[in-house]
Amino acid sequence: MPMLAPTTSAELADAIAGAAADGTRLEIRGGGSKAGVGTGGRQTAVLDMRGFAGIIDYDPAELVLTVGAGTPLAEVETLVAAHGQMLAFEPFDHGPLFGRPVGAATIGGIVAAGVAGSRRPVMGGVRDHLLRFEGVSGRGEPFMAGAKVVKNVTGYDLPKLMCGSWGRLAALTQVTLKVLPAPRETTSCLVRGLDPRQACAVMARAMGSQAEPSAAIHIPGRARGASLTVLRLQGFGPSVAARAALLERLLGEHVVETPDAALAEAIWGDVRTLAPMNDGRPLWRLSIAAGAAPAVIAALEPLGAQWQMDWAGSLIWLCFDGGGELVRRTAAGAGGHAMLVRDDRGVYAGMPTFQPQAAVLAALETRVRRAFDPAGVFETGRFSDLAPHLDLAHAD
């Protein structure tokens, strides 16, 4: 596949304008950790964004970090950790799911894919921390939106729109993120042996309490033992201790354990890299109303789905090769949607990566995509979402 690796905005603009003129489609790629997402697609060229790497400015006291979009996530996380700070959305690492090393992602890819980990329900997603970006739209024009300050409502909030846009609006060259202090102390509270309904009730009770967990996950019982429901408490020492005691009182009818460091690391490491979700079958990601999680599991587990829950039930990872339409209907019934994250064997060939939306919304989304990318430079078909209504200026 042809590869283009610009290193300046002007080169990038030229590449995109050139593609728009001659009808070439561009797949924007950072570290390639998520290149396996979306198996559709016709002939495209790859736009390698790793040339836009480097720390541009970082002022820890202002909580503002600006980096080139091609900067490796690992480099960003190391930098902020050295100042006692973190990316508060604690991104997942999708690399291992696609046979890539840990830490391969670039920050631009994390933003474009809207990857937020276990802290999402409490601290927000990437969308809540992207303050500004620079990039080149499908029109081949460099532009920016947002600002390098933590509070700003000037103009439309285009940074939000870039998060989770999966490279279909603009190629991002630079991102400014709000960073936050990293917690001083972390502890986990573990309850074993709950079924999904009990686990969701426990997680909801904890999340709705002054114990303020920073994360709540549930991993079903597997060959090695009983299910694990884990609530993570983070903050200053005296606060964590007080909240752990509160949580234990709150969950009085259950035995609450504090996992030792090795077990805690294994659990949270697995959650971050999604290691157990790698059984060779397609991987689905269901984003739903937390309260509906038990019903989703009840519908799909008997059909052979393997799963784990994050975001207090609001996020379900599912290894499953049964009916794809059933997964989508179930997710919709649970107030959400299902994304087909990995399907390397083509079990669901031709199925859109993202859950199709109601007609009026789909048409609106198409108009927004055309607003940024009138010629469809970024419409590679990779996500199998090239519906007839796309109405591209250069559609063939």
């Binding site: 003129a21 903050g235 020492g237 984003s287």
Partner: protein
């Protein structure tokens, strides 16, 4: 007023009677107002220097009515201005002479609360405070707390992406809204977001929040509610200089502490507030900080000690720690009453809303003092110190000819200064009509065109709230044109495909 609004369309105004009749067929009875005397209350919002009675007011009660009104206006080419409670400080709800004003006040119901999932579904006309009132008995609250919270509506909050004194820790409206139901100008209805934490497609919810009524009319809002913290305590810290107060703010954050609130007032604001509420603010300091910590008692106690230690090290000349709820509220009383307090020392004041990188504060205040002398008007500053959001209050007298114009010129200079030091025109009040013509100070033509094309995706006829936010109204067809450089390649050395 020094600002030009789009030229009213005389042909539309001439059809006023016919338009009123058509809207009455959709919203019967009292729902359509055309009596000039009854239109008066709607002639301005919180930016009272600008006034314009609307052509008509319509007050729908259901989303189907909203949809039918918009569809009809769309078909007839009639402009529409949405309005919540009319507290906007940027003129976002300023009527137009040839537009229908769509008031959302009758959408005043809390529709559902789910404590298990911690969300509330409300209609847009519900006031900000009423959301908290609806859930507080169960120990919950809605976090964004604009000072106008007893009056402003959630729909207005969504449109302006409003903040409050607690948004450093808990976020602005956008971080606390999970979904909306939106009626577009052509009458079509979409649901954006909802109970899941991310959308299946583009994050259109993210751009509707803060879109200042230009993209659609919000008819339902799903918000996140939070558990009330076990305790909240505050420190009231005086400093001999703005520099040392600013240093203290930076050091608190560097210590890994994100306070629930961190507010600063300068000498004129302190004096005005103390004269108004008499809560014992120190009068011999140049800057006063209110730092609030919340959470478990153990955490508050621990962090209060930390903050006090940091403040002393940064040269605090006074430091009081609230011993009980009454004292905490007293610390806040002056800050919360800062606007009316300033209103007592000056016949009129004009509230600005820029954000700056915090480290530039001393320099910005100094230059503001120079500007104050230059324009011959006083200024008092209250400041959301944690997030760098400045509210300079410019003191003027509308009865003195030329004073309003001077205040506006002073305000524009302050906002340009904010942008010059790396900040922005507005941190929470919105662009509206007020900062519309300053947008080029922050954005290039190309940047603005990318924003305006988004407007075109929602409202290609530019009928919804026109004349706000964007300095020039480009027609959508003109914006859509692509200028492909005809055969000219700028970087011939780059490998082609």
């Amino acid at each position: 007023m020094s600002l030009r609004m789009p030229e009213p369309d005389a042909a539309v105004i001439a059809r006023r009677g016919e338009i009123a009749a058509a809207l009455r067929a959709i919203v019967p009875g009292e729902g359509v107002i055309d009596d000039p005397a009854m239109l008066r209350p709607y002639e301005s919002d919180g930016l009272t220097a600008y006034r314009q009675p609307p052509m008509l007011v319509v007050l729908p009660e259901t989303k189907d009515q909203v949809s039918a009104v918009l569809r009809w206006c769309h078909g007839q080419g009639v402009k529409v201005v949405p309005r919540g409670s009319g507290t906007s400080l940027s003129g976002g709800a300023l009527p137009l002479a040839d537009a229908v004003l769509l008031g959302m006040a009758k959408f005043n119901q809390v529709l559902a609360v789910d404590y298990e999932d911690r969300v509330a579904v409300v209609q847009p006309g519900v006031t900000n405070l009423a959301v908290t009132r609806a859930v507080e008995d169960a120990g919950f609250y809605y976090a964004p707390d604009p000072s106008s919270q007893i009056a402003c509506s959630i729909g207005g909050n969504v449109a302006e992406n409003s903040g409050g004194v607690h948004c450093l820790k808990y976020g602005l409206t956008t971080n606390n809204v999970l979904g909306v139901e939106l009626v577009m100008m052509d009458g079509e209805i979409v649901r954006l977001g909802g109970r899941a934490l991310d959308p299946a497609g583009l994050d259109l919810l993210g751009i509707v929040v803060g879109s200042e009524g230009l993209l659609g009319v919000v008819t339902e809002v799903t918000v996140r509610i939070l558990v009330k913290p076990e305790t909240a305590r505050a420190l009231l810290i005086g400093f001999a200089s703005v520099e040392s107060a600013g240093q203290c703010v930076a050091d608190v954050i560097a210590a890994g502490i994100i306070p629930a609130g961190m507010e600063m007032m300068d000498r004129p604001a302190i004096h005005a507030a103390e004269a108004f509420v008499n809560v014992g603010y120190p009068l011999d300091v140049e800057a006063l900080l209110i730092v609030e910590l919340d959470g478990p008692a153990a955490e508050c106690d621990h962090l209060i000690d930390e903050v006090e230690r940091i403040a002393r090290a940064d040269g605090a000349v006074s430091c009081r720690i609230s011993r009980d709820e009454a004292e905490r509220l007293a610390f806040w009383a002056g800050r919360k009453a800062a606007f009316p307090a300033v209103g007592r020392i000056s016949p009129d004041y004009y509230c600005m809303d820029g954000t700056i990188p915090r480290r530039r504060l001393p320099e910005v205040l100094q230059r503001m003092e120079q500007l104050s002398a230059q324009h011959g008007l006083g200024v008092a500053n209250v400041f959301h110190a944690g997030d760098g959001n400045l509210h300079p209050l410019i003191l003027y007298d509308a009865n003195v000819p030329g004073d309003l114009e001077r205040a506006e010129a002073f305000g524009a200079d302050i906002l340009r200064l904010c942008v010059e030091v790396g900040g922005v025109l507005t941190g929470e009040h919105g662009v509206g009509v007020e900062k519309r013509d300053l947008m080029p100070a922050m954005f290039s033509e190309v940047d603005l065109a990318h924003q305006q094309r988004l407007k075109c995706a929602f409202d290609p006829g530019l009928l919804l709230n026109p004349g706000k936010v964007f300095p020039t109204l480009h027609r959508c067809a003109e914006l859509g044109r692509m200028h492909v450089h005809a055969g000219q390649v700028a970087f011939p050395e780059l490998p082609r495909f």
